[in-house]
């Protein structure tokens, strides 16, 4: 990777990393929430932007990561860091399974979106009904601040942890963009048959993409759990997260490296601004998100990062 590829991600993360030194508690809370969604969006963007498969059910991976780490800590007393690792691993497995079933059946476009939506809903219903996952009451992790427990009383430190993950994924995405896997993934997105004729194993490529995508979003789920310490089926597997990671990636710039992060910050910023104006009326902020999505598709299909390219005058 060239210095130019690394510069922008590092710069963005550096700017955000400085904020804990003089930002208020509210501001830090906002950033942590927004950046957890950003991480989830990075996962979604890998599958949708680079791979061209739009999932409407990424909550399936987010929730799995969150539940796995919560259950391991609560029911089996396992260390939080190990729990997170397990959550990421199991998230990847769930991604692989859903991918295998869907891609083998050659599902694409709307059908793929539908089936991912259905899988997420199935998980939500199961998690809501099962005692093991705490049923409708949900799960609560005991408050025990400490590095070993992945609980930081200082929001700023947690922010750095989230930023660390985001930076890692930014660099990973940039390196994928420049790799053989990335080229093959994009080829599959553009034209599956042509890719096949050039020796690309389309199924294997898509499976790799969805597993990686799921792992990243599962990591976001784990971090969510460690931040809020409470989880229920609607938080874990609810449509809110599927929708937020989608909109964030789209308005930020589908298929770009920085898009999901920029988009998530913009989206949550917009949400906060809306709350200031409209008070605490539930739902107005999400309604605005929906409007932003439509406007984005209608007028700025390449998102914020795409607009940037327009100004720089580069082609396409």
């Amino acid at each position: 990777m060239s210095a130019r590829d690394i510069a922008a991600p590092v710069l963005l993360v550096a700017v955000l990393a400085v904020l804990p030194f003089f930002a208020s508690g509210t501001m830090l809370n906002f950033l942590v929430s927004a950046l957890i969604v950003a991480l989830g969006a990075q996962g979604w963007n890998l599958l949708a932007g680079f791979g061209g498969q739009l999932s409407f059910g990424h909550a399936a991976f987010f929730g799995t990561g969150a539940y796995v780490t919560a259950l391991l800590q609560i029911r089996f007393g396992i260390n939080a860091w190990a729990g997170m690792a397990a959550g990421i691993a199991l998230g990847a497995v769930v991604g692989w399974v859903i991918g295998f079933l869907s891609f083998r059946a050659r599902l694409r476009g709307s059908y793929f979106a539908l089936v991912t939506l259905a899988f997420a809903e199935v998980l939500r219903i199961l998690a809501n009904a099962a005692d093991f996952t705490g049923g409708a009451a949900g799960l609560l992790i005991r408050l025990q601040p400490g590095f070993g427990n992945l609980q930081f009383p200082d929001r700023g430190v947690f922010l750095w942890l989230v930023l660390g993950c985001i930076l890692f994924v930014l660099l990973l995405t940039a390196s994928i963009e420049r790799s053989r896997f990335g080229a093959q993934l994009v080829a599959v997105r553009e034209n599956e048959d042509a890719a096949r004729a050039l020796g690309v194993d389309v199924l294997a490529t898509k499976l790799k993409a969805i597993s990686l995508s799921a792992a990243i979003t599962a990591a976001a789920g784990c971090l969510y759990m460690q931040n809020f310490l409470y989880l229920d089926a609607n938080i874990a597997y609810g449509t809110w997260i599927s929708v937020e990671v989608l909109i964030a990636s789209i308005i930020g710039g589908l298929g770009t490296v920085l898009g999901p992060v920029v988009g998530a910050l913009a989206l949550h910023g917009l949400g906060e601004a809306t709350k200031l104006v409209s008070g605490q009326i539930t739902g107005i902020d999400l309604a605005i998100f929906g409007a932003v999505l439509i406007l984005s598709v209608a007028f700025a299909p390449n998102g914020v990062m795409g607009l940037r390219r327009l100004f720089k005058g580069r082609a396409g």
């Binding site: 059946a105 599902l107 476009g109 709307s110 539908l114 929708v243 929906g290 999505l293």
Partner: protein, 290 residues
């Protein structure tokens, strides 16, 4: 365990509810068949319709069954406008964009309703909800019976519209061959909007039929949208017969599932059928082979 009478009753009630489900699915399958888009806003539009029926009853004192015609007209216009001025133009003709736009629309509608009405569940509170009619050993729900009858009539009218009127012919032409239809002087944008409007009108009728036996909250559409999708995928995207048969089938499955597994897991059965259909035969029982 369960006596044959109870099972038979569940099956018949399932069929009756299935009629209304079929009506919901009809709009979805029609839109897919003509516009070739999956309308993710279908559930949210149904929720809007249900709130509209509720509003008519609570504030104007109009009985749900009398709301059928006026609301069908209003929602036809609403649907027409949505497709003509929002969905069509924003999508620039690309399928992927339409996917996102209808998703955005569903988010907007659902959350505006949430903001306006809070997440409380409301019911019509009418006594008619529990009216039963005796048919031999079975007790059939009167509202469901009415729902079934009206759904059949509506489906019949729809069939008549498509086969015997000029507009219907234009719709079928655009569905089969858009460019050819355009060259024959048909305006596809207008036809798309008309079709979408008809889909919404069907939802309005369905809402009137559902409200006596159902509750309303801003999320209720979600519950129905997956049912509608299951029906459409089961019956075949774009197939009207498929929507009808699929609706009846799903109605029965839901009824039996609810009887045997309880409410929440009964829903699961529908989802699993849905996933299974998508994986095994996405073109549905009646759809054209891909």
């Amino acid at each position: 365990m369960y006596s044959p009478e109870i099972i038979a009753e569940a099956v018949v009630n399932g069929l009756l509810t299935g009629g209304t489900y079929a009506l919901i699915a009809l709009g979805l399958t029609l839109v897919y068949g003509v516009l070739h888009i999956v309308n993710f806003a279908h559930g949210a539009l149904l929720t809007c319709a249900m709130f509209a029926v509720l509003g008519m009853h609570l504030w104007l004192g109009v009985d749900p069954y009398w709301s059928i015609l006026p609301l069908a007209a209003v929602f036809f216009a609403f649907g027409y406008g949505l497709q003509r001025f929002v969905i069509g133009p924003s999508s620039h003709g690309e399928d992927r964009n339409t996917l996102l736009v209808t998703l955005g629309l569903s988010i907007i509608l659902e959350n505006l309703l949430l903001a306006a009405f809070k997440s409380d569940t409301r019911t019509l509170g009418a006594d008619t909800a529990f009216d039963v009619i005796e048919l031999g050993p079975m007790l059939l729900s009167r509202p469901r019976l009415i729902g079934f009858a009206v759904a059949l009539v509506t489906a019949g009218l729809l069939w008549l519209l498509l086969s015997a009127t000029d507009t219907g012919r234009a719709i079928r032409a655009v569905a089969k061959e858009k460019l050819g239809a355009q060259l024959s002087g048909i305006d596809p944008r207008h036809i798309f909007a008309v079709t979408f409007g008809i889909g919404c009108a069907c939802l309005a009728v369905a809402a009137c039929l559902l409200l006596p036996t159902f509750y309303v909250n801003p999320r209720v559409g979600n519950a129905f949208v997956l049912v509608a999708f299951t029906i459409v995928v089961l019956g075949g995207m774009g197939s009207i017969t498929g929507a009808l048969v699929g609706g009846l089938l799903v109605g029965v499955v839901e009824s039996l599932g609810g009887l045997l597994l309880g409410e929440s897991l009964g829903q699961l059965g529908i989802f699993l059928i849905f996933i299974l259909m998508l994986l095994v035969r996405p073109t549905g029982l009646f759809g054209a082979r891909a």
